[in-house]
Amino acid sequence: MRPLAGPAMLLVMVGGYLIYHLASKEDAPPREFTDLEFAGADAGHTGSCYSFGTVLFAHRARNKAARTWTSPREDAWMLTLEDVVQGYTGPQSIFQKFTFEKHGDQIRLVSVDASEKISTDLKANIDDLLEGPHDLDSTPVERCQQDGAAGYDFKPSKR
């Protein structure tokens, strides 16, 4: 009997930890999704030269809003940003909802919903999302690390 007490306790503890760990983990797009190249705002969806993960990382450095990820359907992820801004009329809640979809080996921004007075124009939002990696001179995807590589609004680093 005694030899079983230890393993039984261990089983309960490991089980409890796993249940807690799985229940408390927040949703987020997987690596296979974030590793893909983010598409530009032109009609041909030219690649931006930055992976979706790089775009998100750079955006997070500039935008401190609370983030929540949900997956509305297969191969699509919605990012909700929520914040409180101070105005002359008092504090006010604002939100932005970006829906990203996988198309082949690209991630495209397919829709934007937002609070009043915040642009929902796709091109403006894609350009805004790409400002982060441009300003930070982030590392481009492999195909854009060669001389003469082209991408949507992409200027190769002088490093």
Binding site: L4, V84, S93
Partner: protein
């Protein structure tokens, strides 16, 4: 025998849970509100955040000092609330006074509705103006809030499940009122 041993192990591991709260009393809720007010006065975000349930929501209609504009709406879930609580750490001068409290326990004593009135006083920093220090301000803002919170039990502890209320902001000149509270 093995089954008994396993049961004993499970019971031992679950023993701490027997101390968990299962029903509320007015005194419990009163103590909880005192604790929440103290946490707000200290401005330490993890403590403020820990008193909110996992599905906590906050809805406030905020009437700014410019009365010609209508009230703005503040809606927050727990994640945003906790993030905002972190920003609150920047407020170095803060006074919170509870003016009234009314507690109604639900018949099953699992939740309670707390109606309370507060007056908060803190520096007013104009939007789009970068202060050179936390003491670089001209006016105090006094925010009078009337709120209604639902308090319940989560994981054996009392937490706020939701809060909704109305807040009215007014400004007081710092020159005329160097310190507008005791």
């Amino acid at each position: 025998m093995r089954v008994l041993l396993l049961l004993a192990t499970l019971l031992a591991l679950c023993a701490p849970l027997t101390g968990c709260k299962r029903s509320l009393s007015t005194r419990d809720v009163n103590e909880f509100i005192d604790r929440a007010d103290d946490a707000a006065r200290k401005g330490f975000a993890p403590d403020i955040c820990a008193l909110r349930g996992k599905n906590f929501t906050l809805n406030i209609d905020f009437q700014g000092h410019e009365e010609s504009y209508g009230p703005t709406k503040i809606e927050m879930n727990r994640k945003l609330f906790c993030q905002e609580a972190g920003k609150f750490a920047k407020v170095q001068i803060y006074n919170l006074e509870r003016k009234s409290i009314d507690i109604s326990l639900a018949p099953d004593r699992k939740t309670a509705v707390v109606k309370a009135e507060y007056e908060e006083t803190m520096p007013y920093f104009e939007p789009d103006v970068m202060p050179s220090s936390p003491h670089d301000f001209r006016d105090w803002q006094v925010v009078k809030t009337r709120d209604e919170s639902v308090v319940g039990i989560e994981g054996g502890d009392l937490v706020f499940l939701s809060t909704r209320g109305d807040a009215v902001q007014s400004l007081l000149s710092r020159k005329d009122n160097p310190v507008p509270f005791k």
